[in-house]
């Protein structure tokens, strides 16, 4: 191994390990400073990027960031790596790979980019993203095609779906239904109607699954439901014969962090098989849903790699994507500003992380969505989330999460509103999932131009859906 060093402004910077090289090449964010792995200066960061650009992409097949022997995520990634899919880019350096991706994207060659996924590892795409500017992340993300389906088809060109998130502080059925109706009337819910339950009780989970299943069946909505309980709770619900469309789980990029979430790869496989056996799909058979987010491994104190060194949070996030893709998900999203300013401090860091996560997820073959969100102690506001949602729309993001009025009254954070999804679709000329758009038209929720109408309460569609809340 040649010495990894670069000279910048008369100063020579050395990066003894791959873990340090990756961390120091990462654009500044508070979580890496907290972990103690960030570059000490702007110059050191660029020096690391310079070294990383000359690193052969194939290095990541031989040299690990997190050890093979001690981490099952590393083993999953390397044991399932597809050399044939990797072949077209096997001889490139990280920098050359960035250039190649941008050339393909400019030429609109979606097939060339999208076919790489099984040949790429999380560390390869993370390294590449570290050399990219925000616009690069948008340009390549936009040309990476990932199409999935269960009862709606997601990820088609020119579409932007949304998860309708009707959370309620006590899981009150009427309160949840009111938020579902509010979202449907504003054209949200084509990716999933997905509830974060206030408690993880199996009985509550089954009750919520039955509630959403009834709404979907009653109005013939071409979408799917999900109660985002722990995977073991969903397994219990499956045993009880509950209408489970999607198995959900939060996942992270190290075995230790996944242990902190109480999950193993075997458990995820078992739950997926259970949902698949129900055969509830009409247009596809993707039955899993995962959430990720930069900082989850650090917050679980499970963020160390080779030599016990802290791994940067963006590389670990890409490794979480590497877990998710093994289970053929319908949906994956990063929750980009949720855990607070000690991981992503301000709007600039949240914006960058959202675009990185979308890019890395897509390139690894995931139907990548984003929860564009923030907490009140972060230096983020609605202007920042506007910028990210529009850039994600431009980047071909699979879906965005939306809650009534951007205010989640259960999880106590701010996400996007249903109107934000409408704005993004309108500004960028994007449409809902095709099956859902047909349903919106059938419910008379679209005007002649195909836009979601502003309804008065006595409109037939409003009356019909309001009746669901009244019953």
């Amino acid at each position: 191994m040649s010495a990894r060093r670069a000279t910048l402004g008369g100063h020579t910077y050395e990066f003894p390990t791959l873990v340090e090289l990756m961390a120091k090449a990462t654009p500044l964010r508070s979580g890496d400073v907290l972990a103690g792995c960030a570059a000490a200066s702007a110059a050191e960061r660029v020096a690391a990027q310079t070294v990383l650009a000359d690193l052969p992409l194939a290095t990541f097949l031989d040299e690990q960031v997190v050890g093979y022997e001690e981490d099952d995520v590393t083993r999953l990634v390397l044991d399932t790596h597809d050399r044939a899919a990797f072949a077209p880019v096997a001889s490139l350096t990280v920098g050359e790979f960035r250039d190649r991706l941008l050339a393909w994207a400019a030429a609109g060659d979606e097939a060339a980019i999208s076919a790489l996924a099984p040949g790429l590892t999380p560390e390869m795409v993370a390294a590449t993203s570290k050399l990219m500017r925000n616009a690069d992340l948008v340009a390549v993300g936009r040309r990476t095609r990932v199409v999935t389906g269960l009862r709606s088809t997601l990820g088609l060109p020119g579409t932007l779906a949304s998860r309708l998130q009707p959370n309620h502080p006590t899981d009150d059925p009427l309160g949840v239904t009111a938020s579902i109706v509010d979202g449907l009337l504003q054209g949200s819910g084509d990716a999933v109607i997905g509830i974060n339950p206030a408690t993880d009780s199996p009985a509550r989970t089954v009750a919520l699954l039955e509630l959403v299943d009834e709404v979907i069946a009653r109005y013939g909505i071409p979408t799917q439901s999900c109660v985002l309980a722990h995977v073991t709770t969903t397994l219990r619900a499956l045993e009880q014969g509950a209408p489970v469309d999607l198995v959900f789980q939060s996942v992270a990029g190290t075995q230790g962090a996944n242990r902190g979430f109480g999950v193993t790869l075997d458990l995820l496989a078992e739950a997926r098989a259970g949902a698949l056996a129900l055969g509830r799909g009409t247009v596809g058979d993707n039955v899993t849903y995962f959430e990720t987010g930069q900082g989850s491994a650090l917050s679980a104190d499970a963020h160390r790699g080779i030599g016990g060194r802290p791994v940067d949070q963006q590389t670990l996030e890409a490794r979480a994507h590497g877990v998710a893709r093994h289970f053929a998900p319908l949906l994956v999203n990063t929750v980009v500003g949720f855990i607070g300013p000690e991981y992503l401090y301000d709007g600039r860091q949240v914006l960058r992380a959202g675009l990185e996560d979308h890019f890395c997820g897509k390139l690894l073959g995931l139907p990548m969505g984003v929860d564009v969100c923030y907490t009140n102690h972060a230096e983020v506001d609605g202007d920042d989330t506007d910028a990210l949602m529009l850039l994600l729309g431009a980047a071909g993001c699979t879906f965005l999460i939306a809650v009534p009025g951007a205010d989640d009254v259960m999880l106590h954070y701010q996400s996007l509103s249903f109107t934000d999804v409408l704005t993004t679709r309108q500004v960028l000329g994007l449409r809902p999932a095709p099956e859902f758009e047909v349903w919106l038209a059938r419910m008379d929720l679209l005007d002649d131009a195909g836009r979601v109408r502003e309804l008065t309460a006595d409109a037939p569609a409003a009356r019909a859906l309001l009746a669901a809340a009244a019953s």
Binding site: G175, A178, Y345, A378, G382, G405, D407, H412, L422, Q426
Partner: protein, 251 residues
């Protein structure tokens, strides 16, 4: 769908009111094109502004001192020198600033008032809660009160260890939500020392009369937990399992 259309709506004059009455979520806001109407947009901004101001309002020791009357109050600062550092380095907010000295009084209980993520909560509720709590602890010797700036909950462990106290109660400003910028939390730790983890503490949150818990309710719970912790010689998960039932709404 025909059935649904035929079903009468219960609120005839404003059917949207049905949605609004069903949840605190911001439903049925109306639209201005594909965006929110101005009034709804400004309501949201006002709620966010209150939460932001609660986070960034500086702790006012003189105001806390005045509200506490003639009780002795010591002031300490965490190792986080300013708000921006505090928000990005929770580890520094758990350590005392270098050179901090405290008298070793070896009392039963230390009470630490920490600004946390809402100094406003401390200004509005700390004195009231401290008064209610101390009234309920006649058999306890209590160390001089400590007011801690740029402080996280675990700073209480360092303070209590320096004071030589057997238990610590930390009153801390909680992370402001859009509808609750002034909520105070209370964390109790038996045998406090640096390195204690969250599962070794008991918590009572959402102290903010008149909307949340009253001082009396919260103080009843904390006093009962303290008594149980003294009997058990421990706090945290073990105590919560065997301890007294908490009043409804305590969490």
């Amino acid at each position: 769908m025909t059935d649904a259309l035929d079903r009468p709506l219960p609120v005839r004059d404003d059917p949207w009111a049905l949605l609004r009455s069903a949840t605190r979520a911001r439903v049925a806001l109306g639209r201005a094109g594909d965006a929110l109407p101005t009034a709804r947009e400004l309501e949201f901004r006002a709620a966010h502004a209150a939460a932001r101001d609660a986070v960034h309002q500086p702790l006012d020791p003189a105001a806390v001192r005045a509200a506490l009357g003639d009780r002795e109050l010591l002031e300490v600062h965490s190792a986080a020198p300013d708000r921006a550092t505090y928000l990005q380095r929770p580890d520094l907010g758990r350590q005392l600033a270098e050179g901090t000295t405290l008298p070793r009084t070896e009392d039963d209980l230390a009470v630490v008032i920490a600004d946390g993520l809402s100094p406003r909560a401390v200004h509005e509720h700390a004195a009231g809660l401290v008064g209610a709590l101390l009234e309920r602890l006649p058999g306890w010797s209590v160390a001089p009160l400590v007011l801690a700036a740029q402080a996280r909950v675990a700073l209480g462990d360092a303070v209590a260890a320096a004071l030589g106290a057997r238990a610590v109660v930390v009153l801390v400003g909680e992370r402001p939500g859009l509808s609750s910028a002034d909520s105070l939390g209370v964390y109790l730790t038996w045998d406090p020392r640096p390195g204690r983890i969250d599962s070794e503490r008991n918590c009572v949150s959402n102290v903010r009369p008149p909307h949340g818990l009253s001082y009396g309710q919260a103080a009843d719970t904390v006093a009962a937990l303290l008594t149980a912790a003294r009997e058990l010689g421990a706090s945290g998960v073990a105590l919560k399992d065997e301890g007294p039932a908490l009043p409804a709404g305590a969490y």
